[in-house]
């Protein structure tokens, strides 16, 4: 089939689903709405598959299918077609998006079956899908930006889906506004690129930049990437703009799975992987990205340790994992970043859906302190969750192991990497293992701590099937990217398929000769660190449940700081938001009302004052008037006689 039609179908299907559900938004029929939405999503998935296979049949260098539907903006030198490209990166992305998306849609049917307005929910979900596809398919930065903002918008709508709760509505707004801060950076980055290189189309940019970079100053390029990175920090929840993501958990859990774990938040990573052939010419930007990613990974992981809300833990985990991806981007391991993006999509979606299943079973209870021992009530959920857990903490041969290990190795060995980066990454891995194990321990294992009136039950098949599929993917998803060192010893010598697939479209930094022994060693270190973390958590929360409290008490202020998320929200409130509001009020009341208006009033008052004076002068006395005349004559005369 013609790829244009496929792309069109791919895009239109969710849009039609959105239209269908959007127009009957009052409907309460979750099954109809969900089926339609899922079908739409699934059609897209099929299209994605078709496109993927079409792409696969092409020679590696020619693997891009572009179709431009119409010229969107044509002004001056700016010519933005409404064009979409499927290439190696976007093919992976659309597969993830539509694949995981379809599963999550399916999961949602069960999850939202008791909601008041399921149609609206599915409409939003389809709309999100559309926007996300636009984002990854866009063949120029502006179309990407369309999707970029569009997904933010859907995220806003979905986070605030239960808008009656002011906190949830506020969370939606926070998400959108924080994203907007990033978007502003994105815009500026785009402007710089456009005015430096005269185009916004990826293919042109990536072709042009390596050519001109030798002869021109790369300052604008670095600056552009830094600004684009601001955009990415917003969208992908990196320091300093990560604060919205934990709050975004206010939305329905499948939304968290789809948007805030699997797809949307990885848009930043996608963008940098997409631009990686140019990024490698901006090493300073890469350094900033790497360190921001590493710092985010560690900070979020430590916060995750202290959280009690199951979704919040997962949210911080997401932030942390996204930090990994940016670490990868920063050290030039673009393939690894994209790889981790994919595996993370599998296991994090899985865990979010699993948590959704738990929450669903627990009647909207999210506090892990009130759970425990759910293993026996929710066997399927538990089982799949375990798979996800193993994947995220990086136990071989689960998916997360390969991708995370790749990142850590690159952080260590890449010319852009350093031991410090590796150390932070490894430390994060330990923390990850700790808090994920803690989550498992508190939720599924141990004794149940919930009340008598709660009767957890396993979710319906529409919810468990996605869990199982994702569980499977969490296990095998990583096998497409087996590192060379590992591949060398495995039977059949599987090569790194994933990297091979991406190779033509990502940037490459010059590598030293791989040090096989070192790689093995580090792999061992990271796995053992993960094991250590997991064991420690297991010990703390199951063997000696009182230990955490003692530790917390002992650490005192440090613990409180971590538990309160380092007071970042408070810091923003105190030093950013409140001053902004206070300033605005001050501006309004003092500048607008008291200065500008007063100035105009002053003009009025001046006239009014003059009017009083005129009235005083006009005192009604005939002889005063005569005096004015006489004085007037005298003055005129004096002047005329004197000057004339």
């Amino acid at each position: 089939m013609n790829h244009a039609i496929l792309i069109l179908t791919l895009l239109i299907a969710p849009l039609l689903g959105f239209a269908f559900n959007g127009l009957r938004f009052r409907s309460h029929n979750a099954y109809l709405a969900g089926s339609v939405a899922t079908a739409a999503s699934f059609i897209s998935f099929l299209c994605s598959l078709a496109l993927f296979f079409q792409l696969k049949d092409l020679p590696p260098e020619a693997r891009h299918l572009t179709s431009r539907f119409f010229d969107w903006i044509v002004v001056g030198d700016l010519r933005v077609p409404f064009g979409f490209t499927v290439d190696q990166i976007s093919a992976i992305m659309i597969l993830i998006i539509t694949g995981v998306g379809s599963l999550i849609h399916l999961f949602s049917i069960g999850y939202m079956s008791h909601d008041e307005r399921p149609s609206k929910y599915f409409a939003y979900l389809n709309l999100f899908l559309f926007n996300m596809l636009v984002l990854v398919l866009g063949d120029n930065l502006l179309i990407t930006f369309v999707g970029w903002e569009g997904v933010g918008l859907c995220s806003y709508l979905l986070i605030g889906f239960w808008f009656s709760d002011p906190a949830k509505a506020a969370a939606g707004m926070k998400a959108f506004v924080t994203n907007r801060i990033g978007d502003a950076g994105f815009l500026i980055g785009m402007f710089i690129l456009f005015f430096t290189y005269g185009t916004l189309t990826y293919s042109d940019l990536l072709q042009l930049i390596p050519q001109v970079v030798e002869s021109t100053w790369t300052g604008p390029l670095t600056l552009a990437f830094l600004f684009l990175f601001i955009g990415a920090t917003g969208k992908s929840a990196q320091i300093p703009l990560y604060v919205w993501l934990p709050d975004a958990m206010a939305g329905p859990t499948p939304v968290s799975a789809l948007i805030h774990a699997a797809t949307m938040v990885t848009a930043g990573v996608y963008l940098f992987v997409r631009l990686s052939p140019a990024l490698i010419f901006a090493p300073h930007a890469m350094e900033v990205i790497a360190w921001t990613g590493a710092a985010t990974a560690l900070v979020a992981a430590t916060i995750g340790i202290t959280q009690w809300d199951i979704k919040k833990i997962l949210a911080y985990s997401t932030v942390s994992q996204l930090g990994y991806m940016f670490l990868a981007v920063g050290v030039g391991a673009f393939g690894a970043a994209q790889f981790h993006l994919m595996t993370h999509a599998f296991f994090k979606a899985l865990m979010f859906l699993g948590s959704g299943s738990v929450i669903h079973a627990m009647h909207e209870e999210q506090d892990v302190r009130k759970m425990g021992g759910l293993r026996k009530y929710l066997p399927i959920t538990h089982f799949t969750f375990v798979l996800g857990w193993l994947a995220i903490i990086g136990i071989p041969p689960f998916a997360g192991f390969f991708s995370k290990d790749e990142i850590l190795w690159q952080a260590f060995s890449s010319p852009h990497g350093s031991k410090a980066l590796w150390f932070v990454g490894a430390l994060t891995a330990a923390c990850t293992a700790f808090y994920m194990t803690r989550l498992m321990a508190l939720t599924f294992w141990g004794k149940s701590r919930f009340g008598k009136d709660v009767h957890p039950h396993e979710s319906p098949p529409s919810m468990t099937i996605p869990l199982m599929v994702l569980g499977l993917l969490s296990v095998i998803g990583g096998w497409v990217g087996i590192p060379h060192v590992l591949g060398a010893v495995l039977p059949g010598h599987p090569s790194n398929l994933f990297e091979g697939w991406l190779k033509p479209v990502i940037g490459h930094v010059a590598h030293h000769e791989p040090n096989v022994i070192m790689e093995w060693a580090l792999m061992g270190v990271s796995v053992s660190l993960a094991g250590l973390g997991a064991w420690f958590a297991y010990h703390n929360y199951l063997v000696q449940p009182n230990l955490p409290k003692a530790v917390a008490a002992k650490l005192g202020p440090v613990y409180r700081a971590v538990a309160n998320k380092y007071y970042v929200d408070e810091f923003y409130d105190r030093f950013l938001i409140n001053p902004l509001i206070a300033t605005s009020k001050a501006i309004w009341l003092y500048i607008d009302v008291n200065v500008i208006d007063k100035v105009t009033y002053f003009a009025g008052d001046l006239v009014s004052g003059l009017a009083s004076f005129a009235k005083t002068v006009q005192n009604g006395k005939t002889q005063s008037y005569a005096l004015y005349m006489a004085l007037g004559v005298a003055i005129i005369m004096t002047f005329v006689m004197w000057r004339g």
């Binding site: 005349m629 007037g632 004559v633 002047f639 006689m641 004339g644």
Partner: protein, 492 residues
């Protein structure tokens, strides 16, 4: 000595004769009827006959330049134009006078008589080609006005107004006369052409002439209410019966400014020795615009507000006068002045006309609050007043806009941009007070006991006609401008 004038001279002054004769008719009838007022309508018809006959007599003289009585009177474009304006104002003011509570019904005959003869005085002034005749005309209409104001049925302030006007007017006349005496002494004649031809020379050489010329102008500035000779205007305009105020504000100014234009045509302002006066005059204009607008700013009384605003308008028109005087493109200034005279006459007399219709008693002093809710009760009257006020503000498409446009054009062309800027500032201030009545009429709740509206059909018709005229000339100003252009073309 040979008598050098004939029938033609009498034909030329026929408008004045017609006015006088027809003014006497009702008076004679009254006397013959044993001092009994006759039907005011009949009186008015006689008066109309006089005024329209005068207009009819005036029409043939348009376009020609003639002198009469051995050059004592001159009939040129300016005088013909001013004559028409004055007669028009007289006719309208007569209509209002009949319908007004303060001039009717007692002694309406006398009022008509005085008013028509005031018109005679004004005509005399615009025709005059000799300072003596100017003075006589000026005194004639001044005296008529003093007495008419005093005849108002309003008890207290009209007498005060009359007396103030009288004292200050006499004072100004005396000053002017003093100036005339110096002019006479230095020129050796009071004959205007002789004066004008020697003005430039004498101004440069003779201080006494300078003094006289300035005093003469002071006298005119008094009549035109220019700062600092404006102080009488608010008090007198407020105290006078409204129809008379309308007459005063328009007719007197038309006559005075027409004569002023003649003086200015002498190019006196171009004499270097006279420049200080031109400078002072510019400052006076600025202050006039300011004091007029600022004074009107906080007036409660509508009449007083309009009085102050008429001071401001004098300031605007004087901008044109200066522009006409300083040489160069003086035509622009002159046409600006003439156009403004007619536009100002139409809108001012209309605005006062509406006011008088709203005055239920002779002593009503209408305030802005009294207009509340008028739009609901008398929509067309309110609309007429709105149009007139917008025209006074100078908003297109009204004739007031073009009046200002021509004046500012003249100022800009002549490099008097700062005067134009002050004119603009004044106009901005004026927006506030001109729109306050509109606000009251349309946007405020009606008063509980609304004042009776004096809906006499003739006044109503006149006011509507004037409002319509404001719009018509506002949209089609070119024909009027061509007339004005033709009228000043021969003089400048």
């Amino acid at each position: 000595m040979e008598i050098q004038f004939g029938l033609i001279d009498f034909l030329l002054v026929a408008p004045a004769v017609a006015l006088f004769v027809m003014s006497c008719v009702p008076l004679l009838i009254k006397v013959m009827r044993g001092n009994q007022e006759q039907n005011t309508m009949a009186t008015l018809v006689y008066a109309y006959t006089g005024v329209f006959a005068a207009m009819g007599f005036c029409l043939p003289t348009i376009g020609a330049t003639r002198t009469a009585f051995e050059g004592a009177l001159v009939f040129d474009g300016v005088s013909a134009f001013a004559t028409i304006v004055i007669l028009f104002c007289t006719a309208v003011a007569l209509t209002f006078a009949r319908d007004s509570q303060s001039t009717n019904p007692k002694q309406f005959t006398e009022t008509v008589f005085l008013m028509m003869n005031a018109a005679v005085g004004m005509l005399t002034m615009v025709w005059a080609n000799d300072l003596i005749i100017v003075f006589v005309g000026l005194e004639l209409f001044s005296l008529c006005l003093y007495m008419m104001i005093a005849m108002s049925l309003e008890e207290k302030v009209s007498k005060e107004a009359a007396f103030k006007y009288f004292i200050l007017g006499s004072f100004a006349s005396a000053l002017m006369l003093y100036g005339i005496s110096f002019i006479y002494g230095t020129v050796g004649s009071t004959y205007l052409p002789e004066l004008l031809s020697s003005t430039q020379n004498l101004l440069a050489t003779n201080r006494l002439f300078l003094l006289g010329f300035v005093l003469l102008i002071v006298g005119l500035l008094f009549k035109a209410a220019v700062f600092p000779f404006h102080a009488w205007a608010p008090d007198v305009y407020q105290g006078a019966p409204t129809p008379l105020t309308a007459f005063m504000a328009t007719g007197v100014k038309a006559a005075t400014l027409a004569f002023f234009l003649r003086l200015v045509a002498s190019q006196a302002f171009t004499v270097e020795r006279f420049w200080p006066f031109v400078d002072v005059m510019q400052w006076m204009i600025v202050l006039t615009i300011l004091i007029g607008n600022v004074g009107a700013f906080r007036q409660r009384s509508l009449k007083r507000m309009l009085a102050y605003s008429s001071i401001a308008h004098s300031g605007y028109v004087m901008i044109g006068m200066i522009a006409a005087g300083i040489g160069g493109a003086s035509m622009l200034g002159a046409t600006g002045v003439m156009f403004y005279i007619v536009s100002y006459a139409i809108m001012t007399i209309g605005a006062f006309g509406v006011l008088h219709m709203l005055e239920p008693r002779p002593d009503s002093d209408l305030t802005v609050e009294d207009l509340r809710g008028l739009a609901a009760r008398k929509p067309w009257l309110a609309l007429a007043l709105t149009v007139l006020l917008l025209s006074l503000t100078g908003i297109p498409p009204t004739v007031g806009f073009f009046g200002k446009f021509f004046l500012f054009s003249a100022a800009v062309k002549q490099g008097l941009i700062w005067l134009a800027v002050w004119g603009v500032i004044g106009s901005i201030i004026s927006v506030y007070y001109y729109l306050r009545p509109v606000v009251a009429m349309y946007m405020e709740e009606p008063v509980i006991a609304p004042a009776q509206v004096n809906m006499r059909p003739l006044s109503y018709f006149a006011v509507s006609f004037l409002a319509l005229l404001v719009l018509v000339f506002g949209i089609a100003s070119e024909p009027l401008y061509q007339v004005v252009l033709a009228s000043v073309a021969k003089v400048f």
